[in-house]
């Protein structure tokens, strides 16, 4: 379907907004269940003698698990659309079924991983299972809803050649890849080792020595979301929002021409420069960890 410029920009903005929400919630969902790479520390902790009360949702890497829930949502939505449901109802029901299945996978991962650590005496806490799993399902429902909605817009309004499950799957993989690259660092690099000096850099020898006490009481996964929602989640949302918006924006304005490709290259250059500026600022602000040998000798 060919839309006029204003309408295309409106649709694009809506997709960007949905993507931003999806990215943010996806990261928080991975923190509430403790998933992906930072989970390696949670997995390692009992071995180091650090038993804990944190969920261990090792469904797989985030891209795969979010691809799983997004494609499930897309599939159920397609079936419901075929049965002449309203689009919004179909998307909501599809996202809900997918989130439930996702929750089932989460319970098996927590139970399975803890049962495989019996020699370290890590107990399986059923209260953690009972009140963290619904939270995972809830977060995942929002993610699915946003992703399937993006897929629906691309399929039904913009007329992409792929089907809803296909587009939902691709966005699920992307949101997972971005979530585990961006937001998880905040969880893994800072929250799990919050008792260390800020900015000290994490010596590999600290692996598995995660923080187990919360601001009050024993820390569980819900406490981790509370912290990561302040920075890790929103940053992930911005990354996915930028991806969805800027990957379509040049071609929306300039059409399918080399000019649009040139604009894409300019966007990339701007991002590279921003990263460089960030690098300079951080290096100046924090300084090096160790002094240069030559300078040391000169000082002596």
């Amino acid at each position: 379907m060919i839309l006029d410029l204003t309408m295309s920009m409106a649709v694009l903005a809506l997709m960007g907004a949905l993507a931003t929400i999806a990215g943010c919630i996806e990261d928080l969902e991975s923190d509430v269940g403790s998933q992906s790479n930072p989970n390696s520390q949670v997995q390692l902790a009992p071995q180091m003698g650090f038993l804990h009360r944190i969920y261990n949702k090792a469904i797989s890497g985030e891209p795969i698990s979010n691809g799983l829930s997004a494609v499930t949502g897309g599939l159920v939505t397609t079936v419901l659309l075929d049965a002449k449901f309203y689009a919004l109802t179909a998307i909501v029901l599809g996202a809900f079924v997918a989130a439930l299945i996702y929750g089932i996978f989460a319970t098996t991962a927590y139970a399975g991983r803890v049962a495989s650590q019996s020699r370290f005496k890590q107990p399986l806490y059923m209260d953690i299972m009972r009140y963290t799993t619904p939270s995972i399902i809830g977060h995942n429902f929002i993610v699915n809803f946003c992703l399937v909605a993006i897929a629906y817009i691309q399929y039904a309004i913009l007329g992409y050649p792929f089907t809803i499950p296909f587009l939902a799957l691709i966005w699920g993989i992307s949101v997972g890849a971005i979530g585990s690259s961006v937001g998880d660092v905040h969880y893994g690099g800072e929250r799990e080792f919050q008792n260390r000096e800020f900015g000290c850099g994490l010596n590999t020898a600290l692996s598995g020595r995660i923080v187990r006490r919360a601001e009050s009481g024993l820390r569980n996964s819900i406490d981790n979301v509370w912290f990561c929602a302040k920075f890790g989640g929103p940053a992930t949302g911005i990354a996915l929002g930028l991806t969805v918006f800027f990957s379509s924006w040049p071609t929306t304005i300039w059409g399918y021409t080399w000019k649009a490709m040139g604009v894409g290259a300019i966007i990339l250059a701007v991002m590279t420069i921003m990263n460089r500026l960030l690098e300079i600022q951080v290096k100046n602000a924090y300084g090096p960890y160790k002094e240069d040998k030559k300078e040391k000798e000169a000082g002596a």
Partner: protein, 240 residues
Amino acid sequence: MAVIDPTMLMNIFLIGISGTLICLAVHFIPVGGAPAAMAQATGIGTGTVELAAGSGLVGLITSSYMYAYEPAASMTLVMAAGAMGAAIMLASTMLAGGYIYAYGVAVPFASAQVKKDPITRERQDIYVSKGTQGQGIPTICFVSGVVGSGLGGAGGGLIYFVLMGIYSPLIAASAAAVAGVFTMGVFYVNSVIPSYGVGGTIEGVHDPKFRRVVPKDVLTSFVVSIICGVIAIMITGGMS
């Protein structure tokens, strides 16, 4: 249909090339795996496979859309569209990731594999925190990642373009679905193979590992992709 047809051979060759491009892309993208998620290694804190696939598939979305609405688009333009989509995805990821390293974990960006950044000429070793393999995404990694994801997206765009050319005349309505799924299969095979080669982590083009593993991974991917190409052509025999 003669199998020894120059066009067919060319198509098989192009599929082989696109698989190889995807394989190369994995080597360019700076991936630190699980340690990077704890700021214990330079690069992006996730797995090689999914990052290459995630960016490459975004490229597939942009290039397929272009193919659907500009049937006259040249092969290079479709490839460029794929490259742009994939590179923008990875650049936004690295930029947002950089903000977390900078303000969430508060570590300066440094590569542990080289003493000086080949692009900015800045010292790296003194910024590496004790007991780690570097942290964050220095400029060289960023540039390497953008180039790499561009290659992956271009590879995905190319294979889709070739397959659409083959399948469209035979099964007009389903061509996009079949070509898309096949592209995805080839994508995964070619992004897992090099991941095994690099052992899960690589810093990018400046990493000494890059020179060591690229030849054998590329050879593997090329052979496997050629086989996929032959299969893709032979599938047409069963279409009606």
